[in-house]
Symmetry: C2
Subunit: 233 residues, 2 copies
């Protein structure tokens, strides 16, 4: 963590200096009753790495995090949330100040339609759970964002990586999407490494080798900062 600060201090070119970066990370938890919930395997590591890298590169960083077992990076303002609804509200409160929004969180697409007030008793042999769609946070940001804001999404896929990622990029109004195949060794959940491909709105495509998540984060943010200096904003 100290290295983090030293890096930032001696940064030759703090490419995100003066920028505000808003990052979401981790899974969300969607309760079914007071003891049971739905979630996903997101560990938050990629998002926390993005937050640390953005801070090192000179940015003011706000991290909105679902429940994970990671320590918040030093120097980063962290907001803890649980459900997709809570994450949505925290993002919307912070959106106006953000120059770059990085959406690494694996927000639950669906939540149980009703949340039981008491623990559901297991009387019957089967249980049918009716799920309804959560708000699509990336899509909402894409709709609301100003021309000067850069929106970066993440796509953890198990099949048809490029197709799914490019479709998501377009549908959600993203500027970039970072895609990884979670079924590949070294690119899955909870690992400390990742293997990603960056797809840009303008058609660019950049595949990185297997790297630690912090190194992936540094390279992605440096690339995006450099490219957007030149882009008319």
């Amino acid at each position: 963590q100290i290295i983090n600060w030293v890096n930032r201090f001696f940064q030759q070119e703090a490419s995100l200096k003066g920028k505000h970066v808003l990052i979401t990370a981790g899974p969300t938890i969607e309760p079914l009753d007071p003891v049971r919930y739905f979630s996903n395997y997101s560990s938050g590591k990629m998002g926390y790495a993005m937050a640390q890298a953005a801070y090192e590169l000179g940015a003011k960083v706000t991290l909105i995090s679902g429940p994970v077992s990671l320590d918040p990076p030093l120097g980063v303002q962290t907001v803890q949330v649980k459900s997709a609804q809570e994450m949505y509200e925290a993002v919307m409160q912070n959106l106006v100040h953000a120059d770059i929004v990085v959406k690494t969180a694996a927000v639950a697409d669906y939540r149980p339609e009703t949340i039981a007030k008491q623990k559901i008793k297991k009387e019957s042999d089967s249980l049918t759970i009716q799920m309804v769609k959560n708000q699509d946070i990336a899509w909402e940001i894409g709709k609301q964002k100003r021309e000067d804001q850069i929106l970066i999404g993440f796509a953890a896929e198990t099949d048809h990586l490029a197709d799914h990622a490019k479709e998501k990029l377009a549908r959600k109004g993203l500027d970039y999407i970072v895609a990884n195949d979670v079924t590949v060794a070294g690119a899955g959940f909870s690992t400390d490494t990742n293997i990603v491909t960056l797809y840009g709105r303008d058609g660019e495509e950049w595949t990185l080798p297997k790297l630690t998540k912090i190194e992936v984060a540094r390279r992605l943010l440096t690339y995006i900062a450099e490219n957007n200096k030149m882009r008319k904003r």
Copy 2:
């Protein structure tokens, strides 16, 4: 952790010396697809405390644990599992050697009927999940256990604590059940304290004050060890 060993070494009366204690802990995870799952808020703290206390009291301890973010207690043989099915198999493999079985795990009562091989795409506005019942591990143990084995269950309830606990004690063939109301401050999930009531098969009932989970564990195991010296086995 070192204190743990020292305690054991200097134990004036190692009340579980020569006994084999089998403990289950934590939640189970029931996958819906490669990224999504069902689970519950069990932190594993009570189960890990029971394992540490049993070890301090001189027992040989096997801990079968669902996914938690705790370090396995020193000196305890720990088996990591994910789903209810895996936990069932691990328990059944170890059951024959156990003198005392402590079932603190919050095993999922239901699992999705089918597990999708690919990540489910969120095309529709709603999703119906058909859940089927998992095997009831405590009930299976209760059915199979020998007269000389003591079976201790846990009941985390949100309402009608005594009724639910006593019903469970009888239905599952338990010797004891330890009940706590997870809605009470200091007795919930992830806390380091607990407020429990012990109900015995013979009608005894013992409510402890709010204590740390390790202290709850020490008192429960000491009580049970002492009482079962006298009980004809």
